[in-house]
């Protein structure tokens, strides 16, 4: 039977617990949010001992189901002040699932200034004092842990940003190439830093295949599911060829590519940073256009980007990062953006929050528009070193806006708005406004239907149907985030009728249960309501479900669109 591993950093003790009956049917986001809501006082300071950091693999993680290797991390967010779940690929989720670990709950905080590492194995968790790796970047930590404990060791680590408790700090997860995937958003790296844990190692010794109640039924469903992923043009061809960055040109054409800190919807230099250009550059330099973030991924949307000399620069080079440092900062040098992506991984800072932040920093005059060299310098000399300026920048977009008196600050609940202008793609504006996570495109990705013609079409420039679209997607996403599945399974799930039933059949076959589509929908609703209740108790109410005023007052070219939803229309979202 699966267990809960509990770590108390105040008295430096660990326990192995049975899984309470109420948690047995939950995994991933459903489990982390349930545990945070049950055990964390909503009004606590997110960096205090009262907060808890929870890791949980999904319901299907560790099985042979394609694309099921995501790990959820949850806590109260020091950035938003609300609940947070952030999921990532890498090797850790599958290792934890195969060790029979349903969740790791880390609570309390050391009473002294000492730092620690946690060693997770089949036998439990040991807490060890850590001195040697303090202050190091994430790549060096992963190399050192592998040298110390073996090449196959799983690693969750924080860089200097997490140690310094910056609110944009993330948690890095070692991927199959010993590079990095990230629990990016919401400052979870600062929570890990507040518990004075530099890294968590995972020893896979004794890992067993997860038990499947009905192996034949599972195999049939898994085959149908994989087929749907490979048959759909987005997951089967578009994502593996161009990665997520194919969106630069599409959003630019649609006038929804936020440019120069959200003042225009199209970027002159779009072609230089586009997915098409990136693909050709990667191929010409001997990098890898296709790459998976975890074993068993058949979509392969990641890539390995090389420099002109053919040397590794970065991987997992995403549209949102390239948009943010590119169009939003008016930088058209993809090599410099790739270098910045690598630095952000090493420092351990969210590449979306930091990209949005640089747009605000340019508006504040901290650096000039388009100055990629100064951006790289600020990352290495200020943020990584934790200078006073570096700490302001490492606090994210809202931190810089507040400190420098900027009024055009694209955030919701303090979290930076990514990559899609809510004035010209209105469905995503509803998601940004209402998400329990703060501005988060992944929590209800209306771009699929507003722009990409996936799951039907809802006109991005009109208000009609947007609230319902965002609601349906947010409910479905909360459920999918509980399975350990990559969110890109949503593309085939929206279009291919066999896909979602196959996903539900896999869950049923794994646990010997009989969930229906309605049950899965209800799981999504339960998760959103649980998260919202936590947020309300923490002081985040419907008045926080709003976009910044400038979206209402500043029309964005080329469509001269404004954000024109009334408060009452936005609040309809929660009517379910």
């Amino acid at each position: 039977m699966d267990k809960i591993f509990r770590v108390n950093m105040t008295d430096l003790t660990t326990k192995i617990e049975e899984v309470p009956a109420a948690w047995a049917g939950l995994g991933g986001r459903g489990l982390t949010s349930t545990i945070v809501a049950a055990e964390v006082p909503p009004t606590c300071h997110a960096l205090s001992p009262e907060n808890k950091l929870v890791f949980a693999p999904g319901l299907l993680t560790g099985t042979a189901a394609a694309n099921s290797g995501r790990l959820s991390a949850g806590a109260k967010s020091p950035l938003t002040g609300g609940i947070k779940e952030s999921n990532a690929g890498g090797t850790a989720a599958q290792m934890l699932a195969k060790l029979g670990i349903k969740a790791i709950i880390i609570e309390g905080a050391p009473k002294t200034g000492a730092w620690y590492n946690l060693a997770v194995s089949a036998n439990g968790v040991t807490i060890n004092e850590e001195k040697e790796l303090l202050g190091l970047g994430n790549f060096a930590v992963i190399d050192a842990v592998e040298a110390r404990l073996g090449k196959k060791t799983g690693v969750l680590t924080i860089g200097p940003a997490g140690e310094l408790k910056m609110t944009a700090a993330n948690i890095s997860v070692k991927d199959p190439d010993s590079k990095i995937r990230s629990h990016g958003r919401g400052g979870l790296g600062a929570v890990m830093g507040s518990k004075q844990i530099k890294f968590i190692s995972i020893d896979g010794e004794g890992a067993k295949p997860v038990t499947i109640a009905d192996p034949e039924k599972f195999k049939t469903a898994a085959r149908a599911f994989s087929k749907a992923l490979l048959d759909h043009p987005v997951s089967g061809e578009g994502l593996p060829t161009y990665g997520t960055n194919v969106l630069v040109n599409i959003l630019n054409e649609a006038g929804g590519l936020p440019t120069k800190n959200f003042t225009v919807g199209q970027f002159e230099g779009h072609d230089k940073i586009s997915g098409e250009t990136m693909h050709d550059t990667i191929v010409a330099r001997g990098g890898k256009p296709k790459h998976g973030c975890h074993a068993g991924c058949i979509i392969q949307c990641s890539q390995v980007y090389h420099d002109k000399e053919g040397k590794y620069v970065t991987s997992g080079f995403e549209y949102e990062t390239i948009w943010g440092l590119g169009a939003d900062c008016c930088i058209d040098n993809l090599d410099d953006i790739a270098r910045a992506d690598n630095l952000m991984d090493d420092i351990g800072i969210d590449s979306i929050e930091t990209a949005v932040m640089f747009g605000v920093a340019m508006e504040a005059g901290i650096l000039k528009w388009g100055d990629s060299k100064e951006m790289l310098r600020l990352l290495t000399d200020e943020i990584a070193k934790g200078t006073a300026l570096g700490r302001v920048l490492g606090g994210g977009a809202a931190s810089v806006g507040r400190t420098y008196g900027v009024t055009r600050v694209p955030v919701v609940k303090n979290q930076g708005i990514p990559a899609y202008d809510p004035r010209s793609v209105k469905g995503i504006g509803i998601t940004y406004a209402t998400s329990t996570m703060g501005a988060d495109h992944t929590s209800g990705y209306t771009i699929a239907t507003n722009i990409l013609n996936v799951g039907g079409y809802v006109d991005p420039l009109k208000k009609d149907g947007q609230v319902e679209l965002s609601r349906n997607l947010q409910i479905a996403t909360a459920a999918v985030d509980s399975t350990g599945m990559c969110i890109f399974v949503a593309f085939p799930a929206l279009d291919i009728p066999e896909c979602l039933p196959a996903l539900i059949d896999m869950i049923n076959a794994r646990f010997g249960i009989a969930l229906t589509g309605d049950d899965v929908n209800n799981l999504g609703k339960y998760i959103l309501k649980t998260e919202r209740e936590f947020n309300q108790k923490a002081g985040l109410t419907n008045v926080h479900d709003r976009l910044p005023d400038f979206f209402k007052t500043e029309p964005v070219a080329p469509h001269n669109a404004v954000w024109d939803f009334t408060d009452e229309e936005i609040d309809e979202f929660w009517n379910f």
Binding site: Y242, V246, G255, G275, E276, Y319, Y445, A448, N453, I487
Partner: protein
Amino acid sequence: MQITLKLFATFRNGRFKVAEQELAEGTDVRQVVLSLGLTEEEIGIVMLNGRHGELDSKLSHGDTLSLFPLVGGG
């Protein structure tokens, strides 16, 4: 009449990124698609002057037509 035709992703292979095209009055998007050797099924997104268009949409002088296969990200 003259339009600007932009192609994206795999549609560029063996073709072009952007070209000015001289078309007969009354030409619709479908005719342009077929003239490129593409099929209707291959078309994911049609954008006409930055707004979603249809295969049946009639083109006018000065239009910008952008064609994408079905692609996505996030």
